[in-house]
Amino acid sequence: MNAPAQITMPRLSDSMEEGTLLRWIKRDGDAVTVGEELAEIESDKATVIYEAQAAGVLSTAIEEGATVAVGTVIGWLGNALLARQLHSVPGRAAGRRKASPVARRIAATHGIDLELIDGTGPDGRVVRADVELRLSAPEPAPVLGVRGEVTVHPLTRLQTLVAERMSRSRDEVPDFELRVRVDAEPLSSVREQLKAGHAVDVPSVNDFVVKAAARALREQPSANATYRGDAWERYARVNVGVAVAVEGGLIVPTVFDADGKSLGEISRETRELAARAREGRITPQDLDGATFTVSNLGMFGIDGFSAVISPGQAAILAVGAAAVVPVVRDGAVVPGRQFELALSCDHRVIYGADAARLLSRIRDLLEHPMTLLVA
């Protein structure tokens, strides 16, 4: 009989040190074939469906919700009996938390999760004293102050990551912001023509922005860079991150080599990435490697905003909603459509004049969208 194959916490991205097993898709004792979906794992960057690399009967070693270091055994695939013999995790019998009957009863009565209690009994068994200690611990009492009842919501890994990166950006990056208004008419006109011609997947305004930004960065590579203390790192590829709001967070999938991709390609790829992000099927590879970010709140009717630069990038472009505004054309005030672009820049990498040239070029391209269609 073959020895069971270990399943270890995979390293899903370069920066991943530990992962959270969100959900076992297969259960203890299930027969699994190679390539079948095994578990959902959350890394510092994404939630990933992890597939079986071997066939056999699954024997889980960690519970759902557990966070373990990369490389830690999270289960076995193989002969069930052998797996069980290997499966000697303190405080756990056949996948069940070891707890004395009275500990179990008291925990159930008070709605305490036994998984959250350290067992001090033999072999890590949770005994009554452990549960009572938990009970006697000062409960984060609902504060009924002037702000009403306070509930505490521990951050997910994604939320923690966002918080950490945003704080780092604000702490470290001396940023400045430039704003322009872009005439939306030419863009609308092109999109109308594409629609009239029954083109599939007509690129969105945002897709045009991604394309325009990528083109401008290609022309002005000094902004496709990062400040590294004593040097600038400039990147050969122009990879544009597209911020996507997901439930409980924000993730930024990457459109790689956006400067070289057609608007159609950018459009299809962005839709696909956004859908995967919302469904939690995004992979760490999808999230890595952006050199610039586009963030768009236009769909919410926001006129314009300033975005926070992602650490590791030099700038971020915030896109507002197109709005009907009075414009002066040929000496007359007429209705026009405009949207705002705000470019936040890391002054350690991009200086004001460079930033102005970059943003102007982006506006220029967007106001002449045909140039984006031909290359």
Binding site: S100, P101, V102, A103, R104, R105, G121, P122, R125, V127, R128, A129
Partner: protein
């Protein structure tokens, strides 16, 4: 009048006093057994009673236990209240029929037409190299039989009170003395007598319930002294196995969450198994660790003092078991 230092009676004297007072109060009470009359019993339990009550009420018998007990059953059916002695508990095996098939069943089988108010007095007490045929604790066999009461007094106070209650009871009672207690005086002779079927909390505690009876109460007390403050143990003396005070036992285990059962009988299929089962049935969800039994090894009790000590539960072993159960 000069102050006389009065000593409380020894276990053996308490039994003798109970027999004497019951015989004086009720002339239907008769004693019979091997050497119980002029000889005063092999351990001297019946000393003086022959002189006091004469040969018609204190009767020596041949060494023929089945015959002795058969006679006791007949006498009981005819209206007497015999106290029959079985010299060693081991000898029960030669006279189980009158106990198990006659005494225990006749009231039921006659629809209450006759009662069989017998006390089967016997004694056990390994630990003095009495050999395999004179050292067994067979109370579990008796407690298994419906229709019998089983009393196991652990000190002079209980020996006295329970024997009087046994003699007055119309149900056959197996009264199990321990020869190693015969010389002991009760520290608590003045305590309020308790009825059969009521356990006694000898010592209160919070961490572990230790339940026992007979001589093991003393042994366990010494063990608990050895354990000291390390474990807060509650010691319960069951006093009578039938009727059994389950309520006191369960209430204690519900509080402590842990239980050690100590008895002199062999652990395997011993009375502790019944107690363990009763606790598990009633208080499983109050348990914080496994219930443990600690009794004699499953071996004929050796004659060699060293081997006998190794086979029997003793102070050190009980102390160790208490510590283990507290942490287990």
């Amino acid at each position: 009048m000069a102050e006389v230092a009065t000593q409380t009676p020894r276990y053996i004297e308490a039994i003798n006093a109970a027999l004497s007072s019951e015989m004086a109060a009720d002339d239907r009470v008769v004693l019979l057994g091997v050497d119980v009359a002029a000889g005063g019993g092999v351990y001297g339990v019946t000393r003086g009673l022959y002189d006091e009550f004469g040969p018609r009420r204190v009767i020596d018998t041949p060494i023929a236990e089945a015959g002795v007990l058969g006679a006791a059953v007949g006498a009981a059916m005819a209206g007497l209240r015999p106290v029959a002695e079985i010299m060693y508990m081991d000898f029960l095996t030669v006279c189980l029929d009158p106990i198990v098939n006659q005494a225990a069943k006749l009231r039921y089988m006659t629809g209450g037409g006759v009662s069989v108010p017998i006390v089967f007095r016997t004694q056990t007490g390994a630990g003095r190299s009495a050999g395999a045929q004179h050292s067994q604790s067979l109370e579990g066999i008796l407690a298994h039989v419906p229709g019998l009461h089983v009393y196991c007094p652990s000190d002079a106070r209980d020996a006295h009170d329970l024997l009087i209650e046994a003699i007055r009871l119309d149900t056959p009672v197996c009264f199990i003395e321990n020869r190693r207690l015969y010389g002991k005086r009760s520290d608590e002779w003045d305590r309020t007598p308790l009825p059969a079927g009521q356990a006694r909390v000898v010592r209160s505690g919070e961490d572990v319930t230790v339940v026992t009876w007979g001589r093991m109460v003393l042994e366990t007390l010494q063990a608990l002294d050895q354990v000291g403050d390390e474990v807060s143990a509650e010691l319960i003396d069951l006093r009578t196995l039938v009727p059994l005070d389950v309520e006191t036992l369960i209430a204690s285990v519900q509080r402590t969450g842990r239980c050690l059962i100590v008895h002199e009988a062999v652990t395997r299929y011993g009375p502790g198994a019944e107690l363990l089962a009763r606790i598990a049935e009633a208080a499983l969800f109050d348990l914080d660790g496994p219930i443990r039994r600690f009794g004699a090894l499953p071996t004929p009790i050796p004659y060699s003092p060293e081997l006998e000590a190794a086979a029997m539960p003793g102070v050190a072993g009980i102390a160790q078991a208490v510590r283990e159960v507290a942490k287990g």
